[in-house]
Symmetry: C2
Subunit: 253 residues, 2 copies
């Protein structure tokens, strides 16, 4: 894990890093180290990048004392794009503009993208857990605190198999997704989760999202559905998901 930049403003330290060619950002409170502190992994949506979630990350740090981390998904942000990646971003934009559901091709592409992204997130957690940087983790022997995941749309396409595979993640916020290809991974998710659904989502058919919610193996799972399209999640759901994460990750002392 190679830290490439460090800035501080309004009490929040932001560090850029790369790990095996994957660029990411880590936010944490100025001063106190990361060790033992709850960490929220933030997965961005299709066409976004690691800084799309910067405002959410800052809120996690300032309001709750959490750390937050995001990665560029394959083919996004500062990462090289294949011809298929380019086609994906173009097609997502066209589908949104035309208010049409995600095509089978986009669903296959994001599933393949998730297969690449999941081991990248696991590698980042491994690297953080083994980090020997006193300023970041608090020195050798300090471990990560409880880890949560938040990511909608493409963030969930990645986050659902990640959460199914990664025992360090203890709570997750998903949503704006729902294809039968995700059912198997969803059944293996057992942690408490909140699932955000847009009732009039033009990309994701309602029935697919409801079926995916039903498939999760978690004993505690809550569906939050609101009117409006894919990009119209109400602001109060931002706060609701933060309270959910606070309830499961705790507030650091």
């Amino acid at each position: 894990m190679h830290f490439t930049s460090e800035t501080s403003s309004d009490g929040v330290t932001r560090r850029g890093f790369t790990l095996e060619g994957v660029p990411g950002v880590l936010w944490q409170p100025d001063g106190p180290p990361l060790g033992g502190r709850p960490l929220v992994l933030l997965g961005h949506g299709g066409g976004g990048d690691k800084l799309t979630v910067a405002e959410r990350a800052r809120r996690c740090v300032v309001r709750y004392g959490f750390a937050a981390l995001s990665l560029d998904a394959p083919g996004h942000g500062d990462r090289p794009r294949s011809a298929q990646d380019e086609r994906f971003v173009t097609e997502i934009g066209e589908l949104l503009a035309a208010r049409r559901p995600i095509s089978a091709w986009v669903a296959r592409h994001t599933a393949a993208l998730a297969e690449r992204a999941v081991p990248e997130w696991v590698a980042v957690l491994d690297a953080l857990d083994a980090l020997d940087e006193p300023d970041v983790l608090g020195g050798p022997g300090r471990r990560l605190g409880p880890v949560g995941f938040w990511g909608l749309s493409l963030g969930s396409v990645v986050g659902i198999p990640l959460t199914a595979a990664e025992p360090r993640i203890v709570a997750a916020v998903f949503g704006l997704t729902g294809h039968t290809a995700q059912t198997e991974a969803a059944e293996r998710v057992g942690v408490p989760l909140e699932f955000v659904l847009q009732w009039d989502d033009e990309l994701v058919p309602r029935e697919g999202s409801l079926a995916l919610f039903g498939a999760f193996g978690s004993r505690e799972k809550t569906l939050h559905a609101n009117p409006g399209g894919h990009l119209e999640v109400p602001d109060f759901e931002l706060e609701a998901s933060e309270r959910f994460l606070v309830r499961h990750l705790g507030i650091p002392e």
Copy 2:
């Protein structure tokens, strides 16, 4: 409006009253009057009564400084029961025990009960607004503050047409219900609402609840769905509905 009892404990004053033969209870903070204070109307479920919601009422007063009010529904609590009312309570218990959906007969009975209950709630709001009791409302000229409604199951069967008819109600929490007979009233509801659904509700088919949620005319409406049966709404939904009401009614100064 005739006050019949008054007790105080832990900072909460509880007054029993009757209005045209309907018994009710009003909770408010000790001392400061009701005038201008947010008021939450609490509708109890089938087979319950005005005190079934007492703990929720106390939380409204102690945590948020609200007032709260509940009434015995027709055929419930201290009110006379017809043979049909007796049969309703028996049948609800049998359906729950057998984990079977609400019968057409119970749906018709509760719809008829709601037709009686709605004008009773309206009469209580009228009486409170006109009340000349300085200890309660703060004297002549003091008006009610913003009014919210909370009630699940039978509470919603009454609350949905009440909220459709009563402009003083500015926000509502409904749930655990959903029959096509409620669609027309739901379409006339325009205030922000939160709708609680139990994914494995043995009395209310999921499709009926989802369709009812879709029918509400409100621009702001949020569905909260959780696993479990009719009586297994998670405790965290209690807090979620309180936060929803606080967001729309405000906290008194």
